[in-house]
Symmetry: C2
Subunit: 324 residues, 2 copies
């Protein structure tokens, strides 16, 4: 299991490469939430999401000889861009397996970051078979999106920063809401806080209908989502918490909070108007939980991790319309 | 004339109250500009613009007895919000004189920040007479938007941060493009850089048709704009550089760069898609200068101050449409 020493080692490897993102606030958000709201703006991380941390951590932890042969990842979104940029900055090849129906802009961005994009047809082709064949032929290392110790350690560096930033502001007790898909970010932050800020407690935030982690925590067993898609929070629609991430979350996290797509959209709008940051709906569910489910928050301060900002303009226009 | 000691004193007064804003970058912006582009994201400052720095500096420099009676400012925009919040955080009253035709949202925000908003009709009433009467009756102190030594010192703290952030990244020579209205931010940054980073040179960026500072620097004499309005860069449409700011800029700044409204809008769009920050057109002219007037930049690195992000959704939707 990932431990605090691994997170601190990841932090040393990320130093000077990943951004230390700011903790933002606005009196207007405080008023809506009925308490002090702090937003960890991880959308300002390289490639627009926290995923760069885990990708850098995983790549930088490889032996030089292994890394040099290159890495491979499956992703239609933020993980793809994080791995592509981390590989380019290491000067090694990256192959990203993406579905043909992924948004064109994400395919283009991943290519523009220097990765080789291999497209597959979701209906007729087997993604894993394609990936395994390529990985085998070129001896590429697979970088998983969340269920990997070094990826969890990388995401956990967000938690080290939160612990320090909270201490600087005199915040000793707070719920720390984290946008949760497979649980890499949530479990990493939970581990960091458990060691470095014991009054801060990580809690997952999820979209309605995709509350696998919330239900898993409530029942103590891994639960799956009923459907693979069907929310605008596309970045965090993972089928179930991971085999590595869930035990960490079960041990350390408080209960999950579930928000509607509409609440996520309003949080995107408020982050735009009040914080001047760009969030995608999946990156705004933690803020939505704090703003619209205040009765479930237990502390006078709440910290919300705003995990990503790769959003298309039509969705963003809808979000702006909710606050004007 | 404002000096480096005053800027450093302002920095000490701002410590723990103003935000230290990040210096962001994207390989996609570097490619467009043909060099490394760094964006000082001052839109993430409290109230969404750098104006909070100058307002806090001015208020905190007053004698306690004077400050307690309150402050007054004229503004339809960012200065209003900066003064309102700085006054509230000091626990003193603020009166803001705003035109009746100011955007409703800006009037509401200024009120929500605790200020007393006094509206006047641009066509029939004399703003200065109203302000003078109120200031006199209540012994309020006027906080000018730019032509004030303590305001310039406050804006100059942005330059201290740039000097340090550039040094941390090994940047020893760079043009520092600054969105320029009356010149408070530009002159403050120029002073800070002249003392703390001699290889960094401040240069104003302005919208076409409102290039008063660029022409003033070229001719050595204060020049005025032909019209008061007529650009989407409303935040920086000041009639002419100030009596205090111009001599500083004349002594220390490189030549200005003028951008079109369309270029400013495209820069807003790229800041949205590539940096995940929200800019208003007037806060994006420095970035537009770096992206679209590369032949006028003289250094391998260029730093752009993104000065504000208080933008309405219709303009923002137009900006997003330029990059998608």
């Amino acid at each position: 299991m990932t431990n605090i020493a691994e997170i601190e080692a990841a932090a040393r490897r990320l130093e000077g490469h990943a951004r230390r993102t700011p903790l933002l606030s606005s009196p207007f958000l405080d008023e809506i939430a009925g308490r002090r709201v702090w937003v960890k703006a991880e959308c300002l991380q390289h490639t627009g999401s926290f995923k760069f941390r885990g990708a850098w951590s995983a790549l930088s932890a490889l032996e030089a000889k292994t890394r040099k042969r290159g890495v491979i990842a499956y992703s239609s979104g933020n993980h793809a861009q994080g791995v592509a940029l981390a590989a380019r900055m290491h000067g090694v090849p990256a192959v990203i397996i993406m579905p043909t129906d992924a948004p064109q802009i994400k395919i283009e961005n991943t290519r523009a970051l220097g990765a080789e994009v291999v497209l597959y047809d979701r209906a007729t082709e087997d993604r894993d078979a394609i990936g395994a064949r390529l990985a085998d032929a070129r001896a590429l290392t697979l970088v998983k999106p969340f269920d990997d110790a070094m990826v969890i350690a990388g995401q956990g560096t967000t938690g080290l920063e939160i612990a320090e930033q909270a201490a600087n502001r005199g915040i000793t007790h707070a719920d720390v809401m984290v946008c949760c898909g497979g649980g890499g970010l949530t479990s990493g932050i939970a581990l960091a806080l458990a060691s470095r800020a014991t009054g801060l407690r990580a809690r997952p935030a999820e979209p309605a209908g995709f509350d696998d982690t919330t239900r898993s925590l409530a029942t103590g067993e891994i639960q799956k989502n009923a459907a693979p898609t069907g929310s605008i929070c596309d970045a965090i629609l993972t089928p179930a918490p991971g085999a590595l991430t869930f035990p960490i979350m079960k041990r350390l996290c408080g209960p999950g909070i579930v928000v509607t797509d509409d609440e996520a959209l309003r949080a995107v709008g408020l982050a735009w108007s009040r914080l001047k940051i760009v969030l995608e709906p999946g990156g705004a569910v933690a803020l939505a939980a704090a703003l619209y489910h205040r009765e479930q928050i237990t502390t006078p301060d709440v910290i919300c991790v705003a995990s990503g900002g790769n959003v298309d303009p039509a969705i963003f226009a809808r979000a702006m319309a909710t606050v004007t």
